[in-house]
């Protein structure tokens, strides 16, 4: 990374992480029609571990501090402890019954309140998406709520200077090198780094660390914009996808099978 000597201040980095079910193979209870979530282990959203790692690497290079923030139920504290084990210095959990049922708009708003309360920052790092929500919308939405610029799908930090950051941003057919002013928000892809495993020492530290808990009262803001009430989208139905129906099955010896398939492909004009 270039630009080392240009950086005269210590960095204040915020990483947004979410706790998600370890598996995405959630099933519907055929009797009640609701989701079965019991007995499924919770982990840090795998894409967010890249965000944590990148934040920690920047801190190690330039000095400063990394704060992990999450909105979720009280048990999400575990995910934040893991973030500390992975190198974050501080952690804040935004938790309140009023936050439940948030869609991406309400989540972004709630996170923006928490981040404002934390004070000033230079860089916010999000994962490119979650494995449960699977939208990738919270990062850019959060930047908009905070009124700061964002760069999505960052695959490399090229350099960091006092007032700006140079990044490689992925596109379908290549990448762009962009220059963003600080403070800004980035969402990072898997290519950006190889997350480390937590050391034993840090695990111990994480176990004892104090996680700050903030509820709706602490955050202030507009109560109509959080949780279910602040969510314009509503799920009205969940169902199993209808399979398309199968056609002809060809059995027999391989020679005949190959011949029949060949004739079919010819018939359908693929040959």
């Amino acid at each position: 990374m270039k630009g080392l000597s240009d950086l005269k201040k210590s960095l204040n980095i915020i990483v947004c992480i979410k706790q998600v079910p370890a598996t995405t193979e959630v099933q519907i209870d055929p009797k009640t029609g609701t989701l079965i979530r019991e007995g499924i282990e919770a982990i840090v959203n795998p894409f967010d571990t890249y965000a944590i790692e990148e934040g920690v690497r920047l801190k190690e290079k330039y000095g400063g501090k990394v704060t992990a923030i999450s909105m979720g139920p009280p048990q999400a504290e575990e995910a934040l402890r893991e973030a500390i084990a992975l190198g974050c210095d501080d952690a804040v959990l935004l938790t309140d019954k009023a936050f439940a049922g948030a869609d991406t708009l309400a989540t972004a708003y709630t996170l923006s309140l928490g981040i404002r309360k934390l004070g000033s920052y230079d860089l916010i790092i999000c994962g490119m998406k979650t494995t449960d929500g699977d939208t990738g919308q919270v990062g850019p939405g959060l930047a908009e709520e905070l009124g700061i610029p964002h760069v999505a799908y960052v695959r490399k930090i090229v350099s960091l200077e006092e007032k700006c950051i140079v990044l490689e941003k992925s596109l379908e057919n290549g990448y762009e090198e962009v220059e963003a002013p600080l403070p800004c928000l980035i969402t990072v892809t898997k290519e950006i780094n190889e997350p480390r495993l937590p050391s034993f020492k840090r695990k111990l530290l994480a176990r004892r660390a104090k996680i700050t808990l903030w509820g709706a009262k602490d955050l202030g803001g507009d109560p109509k914009r959080v949780g279910l009430e602040g969510s314009p989208t509503t799920v009205i139905k969940v169902f199993h996808p209808e399979p398309r129906s199968g056609g002809q099955v060809i059995t027999g010896d391989p020679e005949t099978q190959a011949e029949i398939l060949f004739q079919k492909l010819k018939e359908l004009k693929f040959l």
């Binding site: 908009e144 989208t233 190959a258």
Partner: protein, 395 residues
Amino acid sequence: MKEIKVIKEKCTGCGACVQACPFGAIEVVEGKARISEDCRLCGACVSSCPYEAIVITGKEEAVDLSEYKGVLVFGEQREGRIEPVVYELIGKGRELADKLGEELSCVVLGYNMKAQAEELLSYGVDKVYLYDHPSLAVFRDDPYTDIIVDLVEKVKPNIFLIGATFIGRSLAPRIASRLKTGLTADCTGLEIDPESRLLLQTRPAFGGNIMATIVCRNRRPQMATVRYKVMKRAEKTSRRGGEVVVMDFNPKKVRDRVKVRKFVKEEVEVSLTEAEVIVSGGKGLGGPEGFKLIKELADLLGGAVGASRAAVDEGWIGYSHQVGLSGKTVRPKLYIACGISGSVQHLAGMGGSDVIVAINKDPSAPIFKVADIGIVGDLYEVLPRLISRIKKYRG
């Protein structure tokens, strides 16, 4: 009418609101915040103020949903070429607009795009809003957001569709947050509910085992992103009467904070999403050499090579070949799945193919439930014979 006010007695001139304002509409003058007419009453400063010194007064005008009419499509372009996904959104958008008895429009931002905008009309678009300016040639989130939000506030579309490209996925949430409306990602189904006339947005959830239908009741526009190759492409029509509306644009009126220094093109070895024929290999290949056979057949058929995630995870082939929920969505005329079991996640990416052929040893493999032509057998015995038969036929 809503009004915004700084309570001078409480304001300390700390500048938190200046930072927070998305529109650069606040300055600190003589130790107090001053709000200019660029203010759009978004309220960002109100929540940012540590001293509760900024208030918005007056009744919030209830959103009159009936004011919002028509379907708007984001006409994304790169290097002056309209992205293929746009034609698919137009195809779907036309269907939705017809059901509602409303207009279909498209917004294009770029430079020298007049001809391309005209061309969109022949796909059944009623109106193309064109912002044509050198500074808009290359996408940047800031100016694109400002311009599109302004347009949406003017034309008030009922539905707004955006392609789930890297650009669309970055832009759409920013716009939705500014408009404080709902946004559904990666929809695979879009329909109008005949009773409520709401947009029913269906997407895979929880790893694709489950589909969820989502609505946005009280906010407008109803926004959704859609991946490439999920909807059917619009056909050229003979219907005429559409128009290109050239919009005024003043670069000074929009923000532009992130600079694009350069674009570096990287060769993508397979254009899976474009291919009309795809031959795919899975875990059943048993090793990387299996892909030589797959490639040979793909080459003979003029197609591309696909893979299941299991094969990619084994390291037998690169991620760019992965088809499915966490890979690419494809919609070829012919999809040949070899040694692929047919998990829901894989089906999520190729279920829209016109003809599906499956070769699998296990007669109970789920892939046979979707295959038009199923071959129960060992791929290592069937494929070489098929390949030599095709070679013989071609001479």
